[in-house]
């Protein structure tokens, strides 16, 4: 059967991995290619690069990093951050990405998802949604979690899937970097609303949190960053814990 995936996320800037808390306070966490290869060897199911600077002048650096990674990494690679046009997506795929994550540009130009899906297939198009809790609901934020949009996260997730996104990468801004667990209510609401796979992001502090994302949140995959980079846990022990909780996972050969 289809297994639940563990995805190692590397926030990159100027060719290096960084990780912050609540989208700020960046700390240097190493060389992306070395880390990506290490995670593949440990049994990571996928790798995500999020270019958090995402400036025009940084594009060449990112594409070069993607090219170098694709030469050595043989599990799927998703690249996000600053994907504004179909050409940006084409360039990332050409450089060696298997999927691209589109965030702010999808809110501004929803047809971008449709155009990209019809040209490259919906399996290449991930809608990345950053959501902030507002009482009983969640609001979509763009521009690295700084700009409110007035969009309801659940409605927006449904719309992204209708427009052609093949997967939803759902980040809780409240939980990002806090290590207090994924926002299970957000996750389960979105997972119930869409038929495409949902990736849980923001808040993983322990194996227990990842178990919760799958069992209670209904996620198809869980994204982890900080706790892998600083070796709070590793993918092997994480997968052992998931197996112990009867969650289907791929055990690395």
């Amino acid at each position: 059967m289809l297994t639940n995936r563990i995805i190692a996320c590397l926030d990159v800037m100027d060719g290096r991995v960084v990780k912050g808390t609540g989208f700020v306070n960046l700390r240097d966490a190493g060389d992306p290619v070395v880390l990506a290869e290490r995670y593949e060897a440990q049994g990571a199911d996928e790798i995500v690069y999020l270019d958090i600077a995402a400036t025009g002048e940084g594009r060449g650096t990112l594409l070069d990093l993607v090219r170098r990674t694709a030469e050595r990494l043989f599990i799927p690679l998703t690249v996000g951050g600053g994907m504004r046009t179909v050409d940006d997506i084409a360039n990332a795929l050409r450089a060696g990405a298997d999927k691209t994550a589109v965030n702010s540009a999808a809110v501004r130009h929803p047809n971008l998802l449709t155009h990209a899906a019809s040209r490259f297939g919906s399996q290449c198009v991930v809608a990345s949604i950053d959501a902030l809790r507002r009482g009983e609901s969640w609001e979509v934020y763009v521009d690295g979690g700084r700009q409110p949009t007035g969009l309801d996260a659940i409605e927006w997730a449904k719309r992204c899937a209708e427009l052609g996104a093949g997967e939803i990468l759902l980040t809780s801004i409240d939980r990002d970097g806090a290590r207090s667990g994924y926002d299970i209510e957000l996750l389960s609401a979105v997972a119930a609303a869409v038929t495409v796979p949902v990736v849980a992001s923001g808040g993983a502090g322990s194996a227990r949190d990842v178990v919760d994302a799958f069992v209670r949140g209904g996620a198809d995959a869980a994204l982890l960053a900080g706790i892998l980079h600083d070796a709070t846990t590793d993918i092997r022990s994480l997968k052992s814990a998931l197996q112990a909780a009867s969650i289907p996972v791929r055990t690395a050969a």
């Binding site: 059967m1 289809l2 297994t3 639940n4 995936r5 593949e40 199911d45 090219r67 694709a70 030469e71 050595r72 990494l73 043989f74 599990i75 799927p76 690679l77 795929l93 050409r94 450089a95 060696g96 990405a97 298997d98 999927k99 019809s118 040209r119 490259f120 297939g121 919906s122 399996q123 290449c124 093949g166 997967e167 038929t195 495409v196 796979p197 198809d220 995959a221 791929r250 690395a252 050969a253």
Partner: protein, 202 residues
């Protein structure tokens, strides 16, 4: 020097595929002209893009390719590349190669696309079984191949309430619905063994 040619439909990531199948004694190139690509020792139909766009990129070369494949040209089709071996797809208009009679249909399961790592269920008495085997592999598909009869099927995969062909073979052509080039160490070993096998069988 063995010549492996990846046919480029103009869609996506061919870079990591080229790296995955590179080896000593092999020359791997990417080619946009199907008739030139058909001169290879082994033709690779890659797995990214949409059916209609890839069919257009063949510029009417489908019948010639079908003849060459029937005649024993080694060929590996990955994901969309496997789907192109069939007659037509629900995804978009356009003619497939038609090497394997049958059609490509939309996956009708609660969750689509079928995304992630899943089991390869090997058929016990599959004809032309490859030496290579693989326990699980990475999939990213919303469409599946439905051969008119089951004889070309070497392996199945199950997603929710659907069971579909995940590997087929006809003459020296193999199609895989998964992405062996994205299935880590075991996947790379598998895809390279399949290519060796196809070239040796010629």
């Amino acid at each position: 020097m063995t010549r492996l040619v990846i046919f480029d439909y103009g869609a996506g990531n061919l870079h990591s595929l080229a790296k995955a199948i590179a080896a000593d004694g092999r020359n791997v190139t990417v080619e946009t002209d199907l008739r030139v690509a058909m001169q290879a020792d082994c033709l690779v139909l890659p797995g990214v893009g949409a059916f209609g766009a890839a069919a257009s990129a063949m510029h009417g070369g489908q019948a010639d390719l079908r003849a060459a494949l029937s005649d024993g040209l080694p060929c590996l089709g990955i994901c969309l590349g496997m789907q192109l071996l069939f007659d037509a797809s629900e995804e978009s208009p356009g003619r497939g190669v038609g090497l394997i009679p049958g059609k490509v249909t939309r996956l009708r399961t609660p969750k689509v696309p079928h995304m992630g790592w899943n089991d390869i269920e090997w058929r016990e008495s599959g004809n032309g079984q490859n030496r290579a085997s693989l326990g699980s592999a990475y999939f990213a598909n919303a469409y599946i191949c439905e051969p008119e009869d089951e004889s070309p099927i070497l392996a199945w995969t199950t997603h929710q309430d659907a069971r579909f062909a995940s590997m087929v073979r006809s003459a020296n052509t193999v199609g895989v619905q998964f992405h062996p080039e994205k299935s880590s160490f075991a996947g790379r070993a598998f895809v390279n063994a399949v290519i060796e096998d196809l070239i040796e069988c010629r």
